[in-house]
Amino acid sequence: MTKMKVNLTVNGQAHEVEAEPRQLLIHLLREDLNLTGPHIGCETSHCGACTIEMDGKSVKACTVFAAQAQGADITTIEGLSEPGTLNVLQESFREHHGLQCGYCTPGMITRAHRLLQENPTPTEEDVRFGMAGNLCRCTGYQNIVKSIMAAATELNSAKEAAE
């Protein structure tokens, strides 16, 4: 099938990729751009391990065609912190044991990042509802929720300190 040129910005860098229109965004990111942070977990658009940021939205990259992403501004887990450092959420997941096998974790953190932009002071219920699109088979979710709540507290006190 004829390929098309897809221009998109990923983690601040402009890319032009040749892709078949039917190629899924998750495959373009993982295979053509070598960004293997977002994972493929299910094939049914349920698990959220493929979650990325696209134009300020949390999006499951397995349910978007590369063609649809023409012109998009995308951030993956790799773009959420400076190379070699951990951001507040990542540090919080580490501190509060919010991961075991780690496979769902990039999706969790990418989604949590947007969640905290939508609502900087979520209740535990808000976090559980806001993370409903991300499944985890290992942790039972309690420590994930704890990690996100702790990150929110940390980010808010840092913001207050700066003001």
Partner: protein
Amino acid sequence: MNDLSPDRAERSAKLKGLGHSRKRVEDQRFTQGRGNYIDDMKMPDMLFGRWQLYRRHENA
């Protein structure tokens, strides 16, 4: 607890790390998306394949 039993700090010191929770070393990579799972690996001359297996009956 009574007066004769050691307090938490004493017990911790005596155990020298046994039975304590530890920060995991792999979390640094995992939270950054550098988990290097099997599907993340790219090697020269690698072949990609996908098998769809169907079972007539589920089992646990």
